[in-house]
């Protein structure tokens, strides 16, 4: 349907272009506009009229000839866009405790608090930049070549490993994964694993994440023992999930003053359910971080992205079951064969090039993608990948200290760049 335009509208437009009087203009009915030839009104007014009336190909045309183009003027326009205001806000969660709060960390880390989508600073300034926790393990593990070369010297010593993560790789936090406790790996007793946690707490002064082996039968006792020795440090205990005795883990975290990671597998409803169970057990909202599961680029990243994005939007819309900071296990990116395999197993593929170049980029892009979806905290492994994700998210966050080389570049010169 054609847009209706009233005389009043026309008057308003003419007014905007300082046209005082129109000569030789007949107006018939309420949509037709005829202009006699040789009318002395600026082309821009005609264009504006056309544009408002939806007249294009047929009807009046002032640009059917080159001469017409010469006479054209830019139609002044103001770009306007509405702000999006949300009712909900993500919980703000602090990990780590300094001596003032009964811990021994030199600094704490705070995540969450968002009132808008990630880096939508034009809606509402993102309150905290994402943080990066670099992984270490309680035993030597098999790693892709590109990652292994950075950790070969510290793999036997979790304390040294953690130190390296902070000192050389600038980690905001360190995650100690107690994987040797898995009965199918080494079945390290919980008490011994707790000693490793103490070692790591001694070695570094940043907040730490304590991870189990992922074995649902063993993790409760391992994490319980770890929570006990780390009393007061406000660690992030990773993690509680629906397939295990999450109650035991939640209670241990609660009793010893830790934050709990609530982990579900790409399922919004399961995440809501588990979080509600945690509320029922008396876990305060500011003690919960969620892990909705990370899948690698090319191996389900689309599901992970949309799952996180949907959770974050639901939370901002007011679903308090989901209004928690999100942690992402970005190291999972190395599960993608493209991250580590030497050559393609598919014969018809173009050459894959050196795997050492591919791997870090898989980790970076998995991390950044989930950061844009809503991730607040990234558990990562390759130092270059961790550094790159940190750098770009700092820029998007709007950190003042982020270097601004970009400003020196005349961007349109990419066309002639040599």
């Amino acid at each position: 349907m054609e847009k209706k335009i009233t005389l009043e509208d026309i008057a308003r437009i003419l007014d905007r272009y300082d046209v005082v009087e129109l000569e030789d203009v007949k107006i018939k009915g309420d949509v037709e506009l005829e202009l006699s030839t040789g009318v002395a009104i600026p082309p821009s007014v005609v264009q504006a009229l056309q544009s408002m009336m939806g007249v294009q190909k047929e009807g009046i045309s002032v640009v059917s000839e080159e001469k017409g183009i010469e006479e054209l003027e830019l139609i002044p326009t103001k770009f306007e866009v509405a702000k999006t205001e949300w009712n909900g806000q993500i919980e703000e969660v602090t990990i780590g405790a300094t001596s003032a709060d009964g811990g021994t960390r030199e600094a704490t880390v705070t995540i969450g608090g968002e009132k808008a989508l990630p880096f939508y600073n034009f809606d509402h300034q993102t309150p905290h930049p994402p943080v990066i926790s670099v992984d270490c393990f309680d035993m030597p593990i098999s790693l892709a070549k590109a990652v292994r070369e950075h950790y070969e010297d510290v793999m036997e010593d979790p304390g040294e490993w953690a130190k390296k993560n902070v000192r050389e790789f600038g980690a905001d936090m360190v995650t100690i994964h107690l994987i040797s406790t898995d009965p199918t790996i080494k079945d390290t007793p919980a008490r011994e694993a707790a000693k490793t946690v103490e070692e790591v707490l001694q070695a570094v002064k940043v907040p730490i994440v304590i991870g189990g082996s992922g074995n649902p039968d063993k993790d409760p006792e391992v994490l319980e023992a770890a929570a006990e020795v780390a009393e007061g440090e406000r660690c992030l205990i990773a993690s509680a999930n629906l397939n295990m005795d999450y109650e035991r883990i939640a209670k241990a975290a609660l009793e010893h003053g830790h934050v709990i990671l609530s982990w579900t597998q790409l399922d919004i409803n399961a995440q809501k359910t588990l979080n509600r169970y945690l509320f029922k057990l008396g876990v305060p909202r500011e003690d919960i971080v969620i892990d909705p599961t990370t899948a690698a680029l090319g191996y389900g990243l689309d599901y992970a992205f949309t799952n996180i994005e949907r959770m974050r939007i639901s939370a901002l819309k007011g679903d308090t079951d989901l209004a928690f900071p999100i942690s992402c296990g970005i190291t999972n990116a190395w599960g993608a064969r493209e991250a580590w395999m030497k050559d393609s197993p598919i014969k018809e593929d173009s050459d894959w090039g050196p795997s050492v170049y591919r791997g870090p980029l898989y980790e970076i892009m998995t991390g950044l993608t989930l950061g844009i979806a809503g991730g607040d905290m990234f558990m990562m492994m390759h130092p270059k990948a961790a550094g790159a994700v940190k750098r770009v998210t700092q820029m998007l966050f709007g950190a003042k200290e982020a270097e601004d080389e970009g400003k020196k570049v005349r961007i349109e010169d990419w066309v002639t760049w040599k």
Partner: protein, 472 residues
């Protein structure tokens, strides 16, 4: 699109169920219209005078919120824009980001042809198909119209990929266009200085045109001016600042332009957007020792704008470490999220298996299934593949979550009647399910071999482990 359900679309159709469109009912046609799987033109009655009014209204209501613009011709033509939603889960994104790789007019002829070949021949297998990139941008570095035209000609001889002709000099663009005017290239770019000349060229050659301005008032002005001059095949470039606060602002511009177009319904700016991650190279420089860092940063910028609303982007690195993840991310983000996560469980035959061929086991998570299937078939291993119902979850997670266990293997063996086809009673389970091997042997009575952790290593695994004693 202003309609939310097939019923709403149906109201504007004749409702006669005449089947001329090939569908049984108008309602079925309505739902395919919504999915853009059918076009209005496929309903001839709608163009009869009786229904013409409704037809016209329906065309308006079905039009995507962001204008759809096409570059190139024939099979290689690519659609840009045409989006209706801000987030893929709200329905889907329709047209994946068009990936364009650059060449320039100061390249030596052989070097140029070689680079074009590399770009056009690149491919990577992924979930049942080969991924390729989409188009070639030709940059006028020389500033000479003749040199540029010569370069365009050579590229056009070498490939049928869509082209983007890049220069802010209208004379240069025009000379280049003369070589490929019938191939519907995108021209880049009109700005606040040269826009009249570009407008004239776009009109004369009937090609889509890029408008450039980081100042959004100016960009909106340019778009409204071109549109009111009858040019609607427009692509907008709000500028890609590669670093720091500039990058934050660039992110903001892309999001706000798309929001104005889709959420606020500002038709004057609802056009496809172009990003130029290639600007990363201007910060890092072209020296060989900086190339890796530049290519990483370029991929980071590409990542941001593949997700946030670039419908087309221009990149420089054609190294595999860049091409593979960038193109894969496009595939991921632009996959229809309503597509099922799982495939049908069952026993699949790969090649021509006999009763002595190996039996591989995997889950019914679509990504896992397609990966394993292609690894086995591409390496021509005649075998059976038993697809176990893991509720659409991948191996590692399904083992951790309990969806994949000894019982599910037993159920699969029985319900697919595997013993009728595989006589050796030996199955190869995924390396990531190794912890289930003992229990599975107990429960099923079959011999369980643990395969590699990645199915790409099945060929090597076969050499060492097949046939096992239980089979020979």
């Amino acid at each position: 699109m202003k309609l939310n359900s097939p019923m709403e679309v149906w109201k504007y159709l004749p409702g006669t169920n005449c089947k001329e469109c090939g569908e049984k009912t108008c309602l079925a046609f309505a739902s395919l219209l919504m999915e853009r799987k059918k076009k209005l033109e496929e309903c001839p009655p709608l163009f009869e005078p009786k229904y013409a009014e409704k037809g016209k209204k329906l065309a308006e209501l079905l039009a995507p919120e962001v204008r759809e613009v096409e570059i190139g011709i024939g099979e290689r033509a690519r659609k840009m824009g045409g989006e209706d939603v801000m987030h893929r889960h709200e329905r889907t994104f329709f047209n994946r980001t068009v990936l364009v790789y650059d060449v320039w007019d100061t390249m030596k002829e052989e070097e140029l042809r070689e680079r074009v070949r590399k770009i056009t021949e690149w491919k990577k297998f992924y979930v049942g198909e080969f991924l390729k990139v989409d188009a070639i941008a030709i940059r006028s570095v020389s500033g000479e119209a003749k040199t540029f035209a010569q370069c365009v000609k050579r590229v056009a001889e070498e490939t049928d990929f869509p082209l983007v002709l890049c220069s802010f000099n209208a004379k240069v663009i025009e000379e280049g266009l003369k070589e490929v005017s019938n191939r519907r290239p995108l021209i880049y770019a009109a700005d606040k200085e040269n826009w009249k000349e570009f407008l004239g060229i776009a009109k004369r050659f009937k090609v889509p045109v890029t408008l450039f301005s980081p100042d959004l008032d100016m960009l909106n002005s340019l778009a409204v001016t071109f549109s009111s001059a009858g040019i609607e095949d427009i692509v907008l470039d709000p500028g890609t600042y590669p670093e720091g606060g500039g990058l934050e602002q660039t992110f903001s511009r892309f999001v706000r332009i798309r929001r104005a177009g889709i959420a606020d319904g500002n038709k004057g700016i609802a056009y496809p957007l172009i990003a130029v991650p290639m600007t990363a190279w201007m910060v890092h420089g072209s020296k060989a020792e900086n190339a890796l860092a530049a290519s990483y940063w370029e991929a980071i910028i590409a990542d941001l704008f593949i997700i946030k609303y670039a419908d087309i982007m221009i990149l420089h690195s054609i190294e595999p470490h860049s091409l593979i993840p960038v193109r894969t991310l496009v595939a991921n983000i632009y996959t229809d999220p309503r597509r099922p996560v799982s495939v049908e469980p069952g026993l699949r035959e790969i090649g021509n298996p006999t009763e002595r061929s190996p039996l591989f086991v995997t889950t019914n998570f679509a990504l896992t299934y397609y990966t394993v299937e292609s690894d086995i078939s591409s390496n021509k291993i005649d075998s059976y593949l038993m697809v176990v119902d893991s509720e659409g979850i991948g191996v590692e997670s399904a083992v951790a979550g309990g969806q994949l266990n000894a019982e599910s293997f037993k159920d699969a063996l029985e319900s697919f009647k595997v013993e009728d086809k595989v006589k050796h009673k030996t199955m190869v389970i995924p390396g990531l399910a190794a912890r289930l091997s003992g229990e599975t042997e107990d429960v099923t009575g079959w011999t369980v071999l643990v395969g590699p952790r990645d199915s790409g290593r099945i060929p090597g695994w076969m050499e060492k482990n097949w046939p096992p004693e239980t089979v020979s």
